[in-house]
């Protein structure tokens, strides 16, 4: 249902029915694959069964990410042409709309920086990956931040193709990622990270973020999208 809500909000923002929105959420053990990825190629199905990991496809491109309760997702939906991203170019969307999260992580003491194409890294290790789209008359950007995720499961459930590892001169997916907790050297809750990112967004973009709940129309649309798309194997697992 989380991925259905993820699509419902920018659709409503693009229609002018919802305000510009920042949403925070997390899933229990789930692999979220990019819309162009092949589940069969990217995911170790046996390891998913063994670890009780679900597989869901999102509507944006990019690579597979592992979600668990130690992971914080943020999603920004703006109407197209918004002052923060006036140019309809995906790279500028990623760069500009990652700045709030980078600033938030820095406020916590993590030496985060945006690394094109779509990463936030700390000393060359990825702590957050972003994806996004420009559609439905909206600009959409979402990212997942590894706060205290179980990286040992991540290494098991994702198949990282040899071509990708060789290109980055690294031995495994586990070695190229880090968590906020590991970088700080102490426990940190997803709530603390969320609050820091809200602060980062406010100071970076000169906006005020007000907390709220989903609007009724957003819930209705999300339920429809869940029934017709995100709960279906043909969307999640094919091709």
């Amino acid at each position: 249902m989380n991925l259905a809500v993820e699509e419902a909000i920018p659709r409503m923002v693009g229609e002018g029915k919802s305000p510009s929105t920042v949403r925070f959420w997390h899933n229990s053990n789930t692999i979220v694959i990019g819309c162009f990825q092949s589940a069969k190629l990217e995911v170790n199905m046996d390891a998913c069964t063994e670890t009780g990991t679900e597989i869901v496809r999102r509507f944006t491109g990019g690579g597979a990410v592992y979600h668990d309760s130690g992971n914080l997702n943020y999603a920004i939906s703006l109407p197209k042409g918004h002052r923060l991203v006036p140019v309809g170019n995906l790279q500028s969307v990623f760069r500009r709309l990652s700045e709030g999260a980078v600033e938030g992580l820095r406020k916590l003491g993590v030496k985060a920086k945006f690394e094109p194409i779509n990463d936030i890294q700390v000393d060359g290790k990825k702590v957050s990956g972003a994806a996004g789209s420009i559609r439905w008359n909206a600009v959409f950007h979402h990212g997942c931040i590894l706060v205290g995720s179980d990286l040992s499961i991540l290494g098991k459930v994702l198949n990282v193709p040899r071509a990708k590892l060789e290109d980055r001169h690294i031995a495994s997916v586990q070695k190229r990622v880090t968590t906020v907790r590991d970088e700080l050297g102490h426990d940190v809750s997803t709530r603390e990270v969320r609050d820091a990112i809200v602060g980062g967004i406010e100071s970076c973009y000169g906006v005020r973020v007000e907390s709220g709940v989903l609007m009724n129309e957003e819930v209705v649309l999300a339920e429809e999208l869940y029934q017709t798309k995100y709960s279906r194997l043909e969307w999640n697992l094919e091709p």
């Binding site: 162009f36 990825q37 509507f59 995906l90 194409i117 193709p161 071509a163």
Partner: protein, 101 residues
């Protein structure tokens, strides 16, 4: 993907320099692409346009000049925007597809 007797399956995992991974699985018959599936961790907007590219490549010869023309026409015609993948990357990924058993 299942091939008939006269068809050959070809596949490639092509890493775009400084970009993303493009994975190609195709059926080739007498030098022509009979069907093709392109997957990967790249970005392309509008997202639905990838299906159009795959359709345009059906029955295309597996030759660089023709492929380049088709992929360029796809980007011009649809106004699609790639990130982490270019027209050249799609062509190179398709041409690098090797026969699989």
């Amino acid at each position: 993907m299942i091939a008939t007797k006269s068809e050959r399956l070809r596949s490639a995992d092509y890493k775009a320099p400084g970009g993303k991974l493009v994975r190609v699985r195709l059926k080739e018959e007498q030098g022509l692409i009979r069907s093709i599936k392109i997957t990967g961790d790249f970005f392309l907007v509008p997202e639905e346009s990838l299906g159009k590219l795959e359709k345009m490549l059906e029955d295309a010869p597996l030759r660089e000049a023709e492929l380049r023309l088709l992929v360029d026409r796809f980007f011009r015609g649809t106004g699609a925007q790639g990130l982490g993948v270019s027209s050249d990357d799609f062509v190179k990924a398709i041409l690098s597809a090797k026969e699989t058993i």
